[in-house]
Amino acid sequence: MLGVGQKFPQFSLTGVVSNDLNNAFQPFDSNSANGKWQIVFFWPKDFTFVCPTEIAAFGKLNKEFADRDAVVYGVSTDSEFVHLAWRKDKEELRDLPFPMLSDIKRELTSALGVLDAEAGVAQRATYIVDPQGVIRFAYVTDLNVGRSPQEVLRVLDALQTDELCPCNWKKGEDTLKAA
């Protein structure tokens, strides 16, 4: 499994962004985040029980992530049509503010090393990827464990918070170089 400090794999996937079949599908790739941070999280299967709750919980925090210059992608190995059907079926998912990506060829899931060998679907993995495309946080649980989007937000805050101000300078030190 890819971990912290490694490059997040290149991807090019179809995402579901609305409930209307005519404009529901949009392509997303490694450059779609356009220099922002990426939160990429996986779930095993659409139409299962734990998933909509935690996907909706990521949705509720979408504005918090956006305020921190981060885009959110939810991914499973289901097809985009299954995503659309599930989105329309589940009330919590109808207004989901971020795309549900379809990794139907299991390329991204495999490249990351989070394809469950037995179940053949994605494990419950969460990644924070910085604007340079480097994985800064990786978190994977077994198929049935839910996770806390609030914790992902806390980690993102910590990763982004750096004392860039020269006020932090102490006598006898070189000044810190603001990135």
Binding site: A158, Q160, T161, D162, E163, C165, P166, C167, W169, A178
Partner: protein
């Protein structure tokens, strides 16, 4: 609003300030600074001086000299230093060095990417620090500016603007209040 209108509001007991604000906001009176730098320093230190009427007047005077990025940069410097000046002043005043070893855990990402020239943003940060009175911030921003090739004269010009803006903001706040009170008697 013109600078003239601001000056006309100043009472006679503050005539020194009236004359100073007329000079420090010009390129002759602020040696080494461009018109843009003068306007940005004036706007950021006006915001830090907390007189909204005066700040709006300074802003409308400053805007013709500034593009949107610099208006935003001046506001951002006042905003972020309003926080950092308090936090880092605490660090240098508290008689326990342990606090300085604790991460601040405060977001200050704008400093890494202020949207304007980084040294200009430093200059604004220094001027705001002079208004807010944080010694450690003054020392460290001055050092960074000098390392970046900014002269003492340029730095002094920015601080002279900060001083006058701060004084004028305070006097106008009191003066307009007392004029209103007198009128209502």
């Amino acid at each position: 609003m013109s600078l003239e209108t601001i000056r006309d509001q100043l009472p006679d007991y503050a005539r020194d300030l009236k004359l100073n604000i007329g000079s420090v906001l010009t390129t002759q009176g602020a040696p080494g600074l461009s018109e843009k730098q003068i306007a940005a320093v004036a706007l950021s230190t006006a915001i830090a001086s907390r007189n909204p009427h005066f700040t709006l007047a300074i802003e409308s005077w400053a805007k013709p000299q500034l593009d949107d990025a610099y208006v935003n940069g001046a506001r951002a410097a006042a905003a972020i230093m309003g926080m950092n000046n308090i936090y880092y002043r605490f660090l240098h005043l508290v008689e326990d060095g342990e606090y300085a070893t604790m991460p601040a855990r405060l977001r200050m990402n704008i400093i890494g990417n202020p949207g304007i020239d980084k040294l200009d943003f430093e200059l604004l940060s220094l001027a705001v620090s002079a208004v807010n009175g944080c010694g450690m911030c003054i020392t460290s921003h001055e050092k960074k500016l000098r390392e970046g090739g900014i002269s003492r004269e340029q730095i002094q010009s920015a601080v002279r603007i900060a001083s006058v803006i701060h004084a004028v903001a305070a006097v106008l706040e009191y003066h307009s209040e007392s004029a209103a009170a007198a009128a209502s008697v």
